[in-house]
Symmetry: C2
Subunit: 427 residues, 2 copies
């Protein structure tokens, strides 16, 4: 069965995945030159850096996701399709998808990365990752269900497991979620559950590297750890999690920790697609590409960008960091190059401009590293807010997020502590 | 197993369900006099009158639901419990619940009403009701999934089924959802799906009574039908739906209609609880109560209020209308009476003050009936907006709903057209 996409004379660019990279590419490619087909398993773009606020009841999903069809209202010959890619057929220039066969002239793989459980099936089964809005919602439901369970149990051991939250992985996501949970413990939960003793509640952050935010400069790491400890988070670095059975976290050479909530943000791996020559994959399931994001083994018409792609350079021996900026910049460069192909102009190599990195730990607490300047504290926190607000798509979404942030800042009271469970009837 | 609720010397009032009636009761009962336990299967109060806006992507769930724990932050000796009631044990003064046994001195059944499929298992299986926020979300997902399916099929018969939406039941919910869908068809969908011919899209409203909004005055019914038809809704009154197999709606004495989306808002029935003497139930699964909302067969300590209760009076031979106002007023009256019991004062009979009824059909289009005055059109629509906004709990929620409404009014563009599917990991 063929997917139902109009046939036109222009060449067709098929983009797999509408994350930061795929979206930027789709926006900037000229639909005078190309017919653009974007296929994604969701009908919306997700703003990943704020998933942790959805998981901790600070923002609604709709504030940080945006329907593709609305983004592309004004673009002719752009075709969004909701579906999953099953296989790439390099030789035939087609992909098999859940909505049928799609032919392409150029294919861009922008399928992103998913949680890496490093082969541990128990952790995969029992832990809570945060790599999609659904997972963030699922974590939100679980957190509040566990508080409800805790207040209704007279068994102290059981209550301890319900009130202990272990976060594995001290990257920005882990740090941000641990900090937010600590603030919730101080400001909100005692009001919501006046009968419960929240001194029993523990938030533990486990990191394998010697420091949290290990990709950042030492001054940021030290400050971030101090902020976390000030908030009451137990930070343990240089530890290795061995296993988790849904109740107990086993740690190499240390006492295990009892918890019913293990949040797993310890790593990512590329979202693999069947059909590509296996030689293109390198460590972490990333697809090796050349300086133009081309997958070299292909018929010179398959590209990969963003988290799933690895462009090996001297400064980036394992590929660029798996964050929004490299994906956005690669999407933009590739869009320009595809336009240049039609215009007969020479292509430009990708060159990454590091705009810096940042993480927020809590109210008035963040660390920011710009290329020329590192700073922490209140001003860093304001910069974090402004940068993230600016990056959210859509004026209304920006406005709603801003109101939520102001509200939460003033009242200390996120009001989205809802357990909205899936409905079986949902198709 | 006993549920874990502190034992105090005061008498305990257990309220089943935090809808309009249960919530008002819980708010107004004096916790100086009583320990109050509210049990609900959700951790939030739901504002039912706006479910249809969630289903049609106009509002986020969080704008119209509100966590119980937050509502009762400042109330001592109030205990919310998340759980479902399995059985009432009249003789023992206890209820069995999913979180254990709960004893009561007074029990108030405020469990509301659910969709009535009138015994038709097919309709129950294949249609989409709208009596909970989960069902509204499920309908939202389905609507937009069907549009995605429609654009990807080349089969015209299949596309017809996907683009036809049948609403059964011409009460306020049915009228409101049909009107909103018609506006979406005109203003939004052609922009989202530029390749699809939306003249093929049909919205049909089926009602068994001779008029839509049959509980209202004739002038309102006629106007509402005209508004619907102006918007392009096919209104068929006096028709009886016999069956539905997921693809075809069978109608008595008429041609059947092919559709994959049947929205069922044709009636409600009381949410039954096991254990009560069966004699208390009357038509529609409602519990007959006396003028004080007492279930007479009980040991004079079980009450029922709201949709699930039926207080038979001359003006209301089948009980009060199953809407917010009777529930709220009964909750308030019962709270006062329970306080009077402790104070040794005589109880007051319930007396319903009809504040009127209203329904909105679309932009600038509504019908309003106040006790003394009936009007339609733009002014009615403004009154509808103000009354509903005023009734939503919480300043922030009011504000967010208002922004969404203004935004939608100005831009014609609801931006929540998201298919957020349940996550299996959710517990």
């Amino acid at each position: 069965m063929k997917a139902n996409i109009p046939n036109v004379k222009k060449k067709r660019v098929v983009i797999i995945g509408g994350g930061f990279g795929g979206l930027k590419l789709a926006e900037k490619i000229s639909t005078k030159n190309y017919q653009v087909v974007l296929i994604d398993k969701n009908n919306y773009h997700q703003f990943q850096p704020l998933f942790y606020q959805v998981a901790t009841a600070g923002l609604e999903p709709s504030s940080i996701v945006f329907p593709f069809r609305k983004i592309f209202h004004d673009q002719d010959d752009f075709h969004f399709r909701l579906g999953e890619v099953l296989r790439i057929n390099e030789e035939e220039n087609t992909i098999d998808t859940t909505i049928g066969l799609i032919t392409f002239d150029y294919l861009v793989i922008a399928s992103g990365a998913d949680t890496n459980f490093f082969g541990n099936k128990n952790i995969e089964q029992f832990s809570y990752p945060m790599k999609s809005i659904q997972e963030a919602l699922s974590l939100r439901n679980t957190l509040f269900q566990h508080f409800e369970d805790a207040i209704n149990t007279a068994n102290l051991k059981e209550r301890e497991k319900l009130l202990t939250i272990v976060v594995v992985g001290g990257g920005p996501t882990g740090v941000e979620v641990a900090g937010t949970l600590a603030e919730m413990k101080s400001h909100i939960l005692p009001k919501d559950y006046p009968d419960m003793d929240f001194t029993q509640m523990k938030i533990v952050l486990l990191e394998g590297a010697p420091r949290v935010l290990n990709a950042m400069d030492n001054v940021s790491c030290v400050k971030a750890e101090k902020y976390l400890e000030d908030l009451g988070v137990e930070v343990k670095t240089g530890v290795r999690v061995l296993d988790y059975d849904g109740e107990e976290v086993f740690i190499k050479g240390e006492e295990s920790i009892f918890t019913k909530t293990l949040i797993w943000s310890a790593g990512v791996k590329g979202n693999l697609l069947e059909g590509l020559n296996e030689k293109v994959y390198i460590q972490g399931g990333r697809i090796q590409v050349d300086r133009f994001n081309l997958v070299e083994s292909s018929n010179k018409n398959i590209y990969a960008i963003g988290d799933v792609a690895a462009m090996i350079k001297e400064e980036y021996p394992r590929g660029h960091p798996q964050m929004a900026q490299p994906a956005i910049q690669q999407g933009l460069n590739l869009a320009k190059n595809l336009n240049r192909i039609i215009e007969g102009k020479p292509l430009k190599e990708f060159s990454y401009k590091n705009l810096g990195s940042m993480a927020t730990i809590g109210r008035n607490k963040a660390v920011v590293e710009l290329p020329s300047y590192k700073f922490q504290g209140f001003f860093a926190w304001v910069v974090w807010l402004v940068v993230h607000l600016k990056s959210i798509l859509g004026v209304k979404n920006k406005f709603i997020v801003l109101i939520n942030w102001i509200w939460n800042y003033v009242t200390y009271n996120l009001s989205l502590r809802l357990i909205i469970k899936p409905n079986e009837r949902s198709k």
